[in-house]
């Protein structure tokens, strides 16, 4: 492997700044709890009360240099929030499921006894696989790893999956298929401002990953170009050199159209294509059809803009293609990822500094959390259950026989289908809030309501906890330590700033205690600390694609994080991927893929003429279970809204701030209208951070990508109706 000259250099933005120290306070270095930017921050801890009381910038963190978005600044307000769950809750009256009512406080022993009794009864009657685990990746690698082991060894069920199916699964699928490896970014983020052209597809970067914006703007300041493909003129699109305002769900055509022009206009790197890729000729043939005019017909983007985009990307000495949920949350999300990756592979703009491909990971540990075995088909180190050698290796680490390893399960959304069929009768839910975040909410809530028994582990009483029989109080991110893997593939350290509030316990400890009570203690009891869990993860990932063996907590501290793969203790890690132009397919070549266009699961028609798309606002994170409880964020954005173009509004005779009924084939909800020219006339947008009757996911569709099993949140057919009387909210 070629040597990576990357030093964790303090780039031109770095300034030596000392933090202000308040009296009777100490600062604990850590990272934000929310997105995968994992901004560095210092938590202010009062040394008398030992409680977290505030935040200070972490100027010396090389990725974000003290910068934080409004969620980051106020993240600490989760920890001692008045809504924190401090004791286990039990609900005896099942008829109250789906409401906040009927819970009583209980001791951990009583809660554990009930869980073990119910789990054992169900497994005795209906088999081991009647239990399921639904997890998330807004938690440390240690917890994600242990959750996989807890499901397969502790509960002995095959049914485990996680909320990355709504987040990163399509990026993972596409990158694996194109490059043979799924590390979200081929470059460190400190390269971003130094590139000459950034192509952002389906990323509302300024709202979802604000702290990379100073690097994006710097590209333009230097005379480089920013190209944004998005149905909405988001804050980053507003200032972009080129905004490709495509119809939701048509990315595959746009990418094919650009790749066609790159090839036709001589921007292909023939040497690179010949030596390091397969599939060029087939792709060249397929994309021929995607002339600017034909591409424009499908996408709604003017042909001149498509031509200009190809010209800019093609001419740029260095260029980065980045994409996010906008292209991934479609039934062709995996194809979209590969199609945009084709741009880099055809032109050879990958495998060197300042050029490459990246998915802008959503959740804090969206990267690490998908590598270590809480995915239905995966084992630690990005190993696969379908591969007998992989099963053999991990079984040995876990101390079980390979035959005891449960088979592959099903994806997150498909678990609800198995609940409907009564194959799955019980759910252990942690780190996720599907009663807000899953598509087709009426269906999903019905399945959760009909479960025989449900456990929810959270630090707030989420909308999903309202369906549980037992709610266990866990810790916030600042009350436990461990590692996460950020947007770059850099493994970093989360530190504990406060002891767990009330009787709350970290997830890993809860799982070990349940496993012990289920008689599976011999596989878990040796893990006394989260560091013990990490050290077991290192061994379990050794030799896998996502090899963490050479990563230690000490090394992370010493070199400001470690990029995987990191194979042994002398290995500093791998900031840039493919510097030797060796891709991770067996022949060392990347795949340029010929991907025929196909329409969305639900195209607009006469009855439902609008395209509904969903996304985030800068003030809230995912299902809003955390951010809706923080005063500043709630003040800034208290409720969802529907963005409508003024011409569309006129057609429906609706006005700014009027409430309207928005509906699809699956459900309906009432929203306040926000009129803006910054959206296509055929598209409406609603942010998804709210639950109950305000959830836009009552309307979204549960159609899945055939490879990643990711639902098509980003487009379905909808209709607006003016309210007869003004709704009182």
């Amino acid at each position: 492997m070629q040597r990576d000259n990357y030093k964790n250099e303090r780039d031109k933005y770095f300034k030596e700044i000392e933090n202000l120290n308040h009296p009777n306070e100490t600062l604990v270095k850590t990272h934000c709890s929310y997105c995968a930017m994992q901004c560095g921050m210092n938590l202010r801890v009062n040394t008398k009360t030992n409680k977290i009381i505030g935040v200070e910038p972490r100027y010396d963190w090389p990725v974000t240099l003290g910068k934080m978005c409004p969620k980051g600044v106020t993240a600490y307000q989760q920890v001692n929030n008045k809504d924190r769950l401090l004791k286990p809750l039990i609900r005896d009256d099942q008829s109250l499921k789906g409401t906040k009512n009927g819970f009583r406080e209980a001791s951990w022993d009583e809660a554990y006894d009930l869980i073990v009794k119910k789990f054992t009864e169900l497994q005795t009657t209906y088999g081991k696989d009647s239990l399921s685990v639904y997890s998330g990746v807004s938690m440390t690698n240690e917890k994600c790893y242990l959750t996989g082991k807890f499901a397969r060894v502790g509960l002995q069920t095959r049914y485990i999956d996680y909320n990355g199916r709504f987040c990163m699964a399509s990026a993972a699928g596409g990158l694996n298929r194109s490059l043979g490896i799924d590390r979200g970014s081929t470059i460190p983020w400190t390269d971003v401002h130094e590139t000459d052209c950034i192509f952002l597809a389906g990323s509302n970067t300024a709202e979802c990953h604000p702290t990379m914006m100073f690097r994006v703007w710097a590209i333009q300041e230097r005379g480089g170009y920013v190209i944004v493909a998005d149905p909405r003129e988001t804050p980053v699109a507003r200032r972009a050199d080129l905004h490709l305002d495509l119809k939701p769900g048509t990315d595959l055509a746009l990418a094919n159209g650009i790749v066609n022009l790159l090839i036709q206009n001589g921007y292909a790197d023939e040497e690179f294509v010949k030596n390091h890729t397969n599939g060029f000729e087939e792709t060249k043939e397929l994309v021929k059809e995607f002339t600017p005019e034909y591409t424009s017909e499908i996408t709604g983007v003017a042909p001149e803009k498509i031509i200009r985009a190809a010209e800019l990307y093609g001419k740029a000495p260095n260029a980065i293609v980045m994409f996010a949920r906008g292209i991934e949350q479609q039934i062709k999300g995996v194809d979209n990822v590969s199609a945009y990756t084709n741009m880099a592979l055809v032109t050879g703009k990958i495998g060197r500094a300042k050029s490459g491909v990246a998915t802008i990971t959503g959740q804090g540990n969206g990267q690490g959390g998908r590598e270590h075995g809480q995915k239905a088909d995966a084992l630690p180190g990005y190993r696969k259950i379908a591969n007998p050698d992989h099963v053999k290796y991990v079984s040995k680490v876990w101390g079980i026989e390979p035959e005891e390893m449960p088979k592959e399960g099903v994806s997150a959304f498909e678990m609800f289908g198995l609940m409907e069929q009564k194959t799955i009768r019980s759910l252990y839910l942690l780190c996720s809030n599907p009663a807000v975040s899953a598509p087709d909410q009426n269906y999903v809530r019905e399945q959760m309501k009909n479960l025989d028994f449900m456990v929810c582990v959270d630090f707030f009483l989420s909308e999903s906890a309202e369906f549980a029989d037992v709610v266990l109080p866990t810790t916030t991110w600042a009350e436990d330590e461990g590692t996460t893997t950020n947007v770059e593939g850099r493994i970093i350290k989360i530190n504990r700033a406060q002891m767990p509030l009330g009787e709350s316990k970290p997830d890993w400890q809860i799982q070990i205690e349940i496993a012990e009570r289920l008689g599976r203690g011999k596989y878990f009891s040796h893990l006394k600390t989260s560091k013990d869990v990490f050290n077991e993860l290192r061994v379990a990932s050794k030799g896998g694609t996502a090899d963490y063996y050479g990563v230690t907590w000490e090394k992370i501290d010493k070199q400001d994080g470690v990029f995987w793969p990191c194979k042994d203790e002398s290995d500093p890690g791998t900031p840039h991927l493919f510097l030797d132009k060796k891709f991770n397919h067996p022949d060392g070549k990347a795949k340029i893929l010929a991907l025929p266009y196909r329409p969305s699961a639900e195209e607009p028609d006469e009855k439902y003429p609008l395209r509904l798309t969903t996304g985030r606002v800068v003030y809230h994170y995912l299902s809003g279970n955390q951010t809706r409880r923080i005063q500043f964020l709630r003040d800034m954005c208290p409720e969802p809204f529907v963005e409508v173009h003024p011409e569309t509004a006129e057609k429906y005779s609706i006005e700014h701030e009027e409430y309207v009924r928005l509906y699809t084939r699956r459900g309906e909800a009432t929203y306040k209208v926000k009129i803006t020219e910054a959206i296509r006339k055929d598209t409406v947008f609603v942010p998804y951070h709210w639950g109950h009757e305000k959830s836009i996911n009552l309307l979204t569709i549960g159609a899945l990508d055939p490879y990643s099993r990711m639902p098509e949140f980003k487009t379905c057919a909808a209709q607006i109706e003016k309210m007869k009387t003004r709704a009182v909210q």
Binding site: N19, V55, Y59, E207, F214, Q220, R222, P235, R238
Partner: protein
Amino acid sequence: MKKRLYLELENCIGCRSCLAACTQCGGHEERNRNYVYDVNPLVNRQTMPLMCLHCVNPACARSCPAQAIQIHETGAVLSALVEKCIGCQNCTIACPYGIPKFDTEQNLMYKCDLCIDRSKDGIPPMCASVCPSNTLQWLTDEEIEAKQKQFNLDNGKWVTSMPYLEGETNVRVNLPGILQGVTKLF
């Protein structure tokens, strides 16, 4: 080395992190003291912050009959002294930018003091520390001069680096339009 708050309005993404951070400096009673405006909300997503510009000859202080608004040796125009402020609100009217806010319960004016506990020692104020888009920066005069030069278009059509808005200010501003003069790489 003296540093100043420097605003590049073109960069603003409307995240209002500056307002969130303003509540977190440890000395602002968790109230934010500045503003971010939607420039044309029904049309596009353009936003811009309106921060106290810390005038060299501040109208707020001049208008104060009780001399409650002090000017720090660094040039920062401080929030009203609790013991002196009589709650007349002259300052809120006098300020050409509408910066001072008024607490009716405490009958007290409050405004940005550039996080004086920090900025007096060269530490950037909270807003400029966290600003994700580099709309708010904390720079030396040399750095600001380079910026002004870089963005001085001098084409008679578009002026971004005006010396001052209304009288000389300690905070320096570049108005939207900075990219108009950038020479493209290719």
